[in-house]
């Protein structure tokens, strides 16, 4: 049996018109008509993406300015280029992914789960190339300090990003939360690379990179919780 024949059978099966109870349509029209007013469409996706990238850059720069630019000062030009170009690409991907998750019917370039893996692996690979000092001094205490500092900078990024996209509509709220969390985590990592002068390879590879999955998981968890409390996450316009 050929595909064309299956097409034909499907077409025949679907050919007879599918009627909807007119009363249902009238009810829908009446309920929509009673609350119909002009709305302002969302800005173009590139504006929202640009806004998200700007938020990440501002949070990372302000955070590093407050704590000191010790890390970037110690890096060579090549190392700076490698690390920050990778972070730039990942932030752009995460911003695009977050915007796509908040607008129904947008093309999804990379699924948030895949992006999490790609971002983590890419950063570990870059850090492995750049940092060759495999000693570990005060591995956990210094590591936890960096992880917490990164997460503390992810929080304002996540909040500001959510505010920017508050008029969006997430068809998959957990995926949107994950994408937002990844973006926020990348802002935290960027701040750490600007600030942290601890160039032990394992420290950077583990504790700096860990900000992304932890932040992503927090975003997804918040979105999952919000699914059961609709008013918590959804924009005011969608609250019933």
């Amino acid at each position: 049996m050929k595909d064309r024949e299956i097409d034909e059978i499907l077409k025949q099966a679907a050919a007879s018109g599918h009627e909807v109870d007119p009363a249902v349509l009238d009810r829908v029209a009446a309920s929509i008509g009673s609350a119909l007013r002009p709305v302002r469409p969302l800005p173009p996706a590139w504006v929202l993406e640009g806004g998200l990238i700007l938020i990440c850059a501002v949070v990372a720069l302000v955070g590093a300015a407050r704590l000191g630019f010790f890390g970037i000062e110690k890096l060579s030009g090549l190392e700076r280029g490698l690390i920050f170009s990778t972070l730039g690409i990942l932030v752009w991907l995460a911003a695009t992914g977050f915007v796509n998750e908040m607008i129904p019917g947008r093309r999804r370039c990379v699924a948030p789960g895949t992006l999490l893996g790609v971002a983590s692996v890419a950063l570990i690979a870059v850090f492995a190339v750049v940092f060759r000092d495999y000693r570990t001094e005060r591995f956990v205490s210094l590591g936890m300090a960096c992880l917490i500092a990164g997460l503390l900078h992810a929080i304002p990024t996540g909040l500001a990003s959510w505010w920017l996209l508050r008029r969006g509509f997430a068809v998959d709220s957990v995926a949107a939360g994950l994408a937002g969390g990844i973006l926020a985590g990348l802002a935290g990592v960027t701040m750490l690379e600007l600030h942290c002068a601890n160039f032990e390879a394992l420290h950077v590879m583990l504790w700096h990179t860990a900000v992304i999955p932890v932040s992503g998981a927090a975003g997804a968890l918040l979105a999952w919780v919000a699914r059961f409390r609709p008013g918590f996450w959804r924009p005011r316009a969608l609250r019933s």
């Binding site: 299956i6 029209a29 607008i103 019917g105 969608l238």
Partner: protein, 219 residues
């Protein structure tokens, strides 16, 4: 195209009655192409009630069928359709002119269906403790049954993800790219699901004696 004026005058009713008092419109205008839908959507965003009503009448049958194909009962499909339109109404500002319209509608409809599925699964899980439910077989396709019923029966053996892809591709007439957008997946994944669905349908239809000279509708 004749339906360009922004005041909505071009979305002229083919037949029907306008009840101006309560703003109820029962018109099914001659719209079909994506550009018409796009224009109607833009007018709807501008607060044009006629455009909104036209969209409701134009798209509701296929959205309703989308829910029916996913094994929703007719009352459930009615509820889901109403919920979908309320959600569409609340999220209408997220549509941007120039973007394909159908993926936007179907992405929201799909979201409502998934929500409904989760809710019903939780309800079923709570109710199962009261006793064993008898297994109910999917209804066998019968000669002369309605189109939507035939379609449901035909797509019954397919997993949900394949069923929705076939429905969007072959019944709603969306392109691979549009289905990928509506389902938040890649074109490759949609192609793969469609291919697998066709393999299953081929097996099923061959088993039913199709492809051996039969030309009629479903058995």
């Amino acid at each position: 195209m004749s339906e360009t004026p922004a005041d909505g005058a071009a979305i002229a009713p083919v037949d029907g009655v306008r009840e101006a008092g309560n703003r109820q419109v029962r018109n099914v205008p001659a719209v079909g192409s994506d550009s018409n839908l796009e224009m109607l959507m833009c007018l709807y965003q501008q607060g044009d009630f006629r455009a909104a009503t036209t969209l409701i009448h134009r798209l509701s049958p296929q959205l309703h069928r989308f829910f029916m194909v996913q094994f929703a009962s007719r009352p459930d499909a009615d509820d889901l359709l109403q919920e979908t339109w309320l959600r569409i109404h609340a999220a209408r500002h997220t549509y941007r002119a120039g973007e394909p319209v159908l993926p936007w509608f179907y992405a929201i409809a799909r979201h409502i269906r998934v929500d409904h599925y989760r809710r019903s699964r939780r309800t079923v899980a709570r109710e199962q403790g009261l006793g064993e439910m008898p297994e109910i077989a999917a209804p066998a396709p019968t000669a002369g049954s309605g189109g939507a019923h035939d379609l449901e029966a035909l797509l019954a053996p397919l997993p949900e993800s394949q069923r929705e892809v076939v429905e969007m591709l072959k019944i709603a007439g969306m392109s691979l790219e549009e289905v990928a957008r509506a389902t938040s997946s890649s074109v490759g994944s949609v192609k793969q699901k469609a291919h697998r669905a066709y393999e299953k349908l081929r097996e099923r239809l061959s088993g039913m004696g199709f492809g051996k000279g039969s030309t009629g509708g479903l058995p």
